[in-house]
Symmetry: C2
């Protein structure tokens, strides 16, 4: 498998270059980004297609590990290939072979020390809560909550999230990192024109399930099950049990990656 | 199987009633409406779920046979059941068991002589042609045409479609009816706010693949491959070969059924 994080030449001695590929995908039918034994993932689908086009299987490294069912309006990944690939028709070629739920947007060469994940300075996620007119066309892309939520109260919760905090209590046990302090630069809830709710959060990094637990907690605040004063305890005591449910994956979109 | 088009009592002698169910569905993953041996259909999925709820398998009759991959914003079907079913919680119960791409909207008792298909006075279809910003979230619900289409010219085509014509030349060989004359009461192309195109057609009935061939022909007119003068020949000579391609199913929605 072609990997250029450590080597600069392929087995034939040809020089390799590092490419940054921007894609978007509907994650409904995937077991998340990262290759795993029990189901097809976006990474695997992408590696399959790139292998078809360039003749060798690339080691594609993503900007984040999105969960099963989560979507990406933009997602970046890097991989290496012979210097002569890909040519200008690469993105078009990818789209002609990719399944319709993955779409290639852009591909360009990047410096050798660029890393899709570690070079990212921050990310923005959006989460859609559908309040009106449930239907089969939005059900892949939103969480339908039939009771009327209070976006103003949810916004009060959002304000308390902004800043540098230990988000341990807002993450699931599957987390893979030691340092659970993150800086949230933006967090808010807004009504759409037709009365649905968009939750937006931007941070320098996210823990496992963090956005979905933040959304579930915002809904818990709206429902009166969680008090705004509890938020400080969740931070201080790292207490996951005080936070809300993990909102379902279908409403979540990786919206923007900042490099 | 419970069928009340001819009998009014079930095997136990209980009186039956006829129910009209309104649903919406994302047809992407179905082989159309009608039960068939080689793939799951909406009719089959629905019968499975209703059987679970009322304890007997209903014979569900749809308002039209939509093709594989075609969607419905509203679709009606009738079925019979014991007089005591379904109660007011039926629609909610259906939605708790139905797959997420089928959604029950409404269910009510109708007179014995009502028929979901034959009682329909007309139908409206819409077809979405995506011209801008292709992405994996719209790819299930639109036909992406990257070349710029001329909606004004397509509208000129639409004007010639309105009226009572023999639409034989705008249908596929799989048609099951003898009489191929239909009356189109409305047909037009409009730009959406972001520059995509919505084709709308309303008629007292439609032939097999008729809307998709009309859309393909409108695109052919825009491309200059089909002249507006050819339309009269297609009507007069019933000549399918002069019409355009059959547009792909994913852009097509049954939008409204008139009773």
């Amino acid at each position: 498998m072609l990997n250029c994080d450590f080597i600069k030449y392929n087995l034939l001695g040809d020089i390799m270059k590092k490419m940054l590929l921007k894609i978007a995908y509907d994650g409904t039918d995937y077991h998340g980004w990262q290759v795993q034994p029990n189901g097809i993932t976006v990474q695997e689908a992408l590696q399959d297609v790139i292998e078809k086009l360039i003749g060798e299987r690339p080691d594609v490294t993503g900007c984040s590990r999105t969960d099963a069912g989560v979507h990406a309006k933009e997602f970046y990944c890097h991989f290496c290939c012979d210097d002569k690939f890909p040519d200008v028709t690469f993105v078009k070629g990818l789209n002609s072979v990719l399944p319709r739920d993955i779409f290639a947007l852009e591909c360009k060469a990047v410096p050798d020390d660029f890393h899709a994940r570690y070079s990212a300075k921050g990310k923005r996620y959006v989460y859609k809560i559908k309040q009106t007119n449930p239907n089969p066309f939005d059900s892949r892309y939103s969480w339908y909550v039939s009771r009327k939520l209070n976006a103003e109260l949810m916004n009060e919760f959002c304000k308390r999230i902004v800043g540098t905090h230990d988000f341990y209590g807002f993450s699931s046990s599957g987390r893979t990192v030691e340092d659970t302090v993150r800086t949230v630069s933006e967090c808010n809830c807004k009504y759409t024109d037709n009365g649905d709710i968009i939750f937006t959060v931007e941070a320098n990094g996210f823990l496992y399930n963090m956005v979905r637990i933040l959304v579930g907690t915002a809904v818990g605040v709206s429902d009166g099950k969680i008090q705004l004063e509890d938020i400080d305890s969740i931070f201080a005591n790292k207490d996951r049990s005080l936070a809300g449910v993990t909102a379902p994956p279908e409403g979540l979109f990786l919206d923007k990656v900042f490099y």
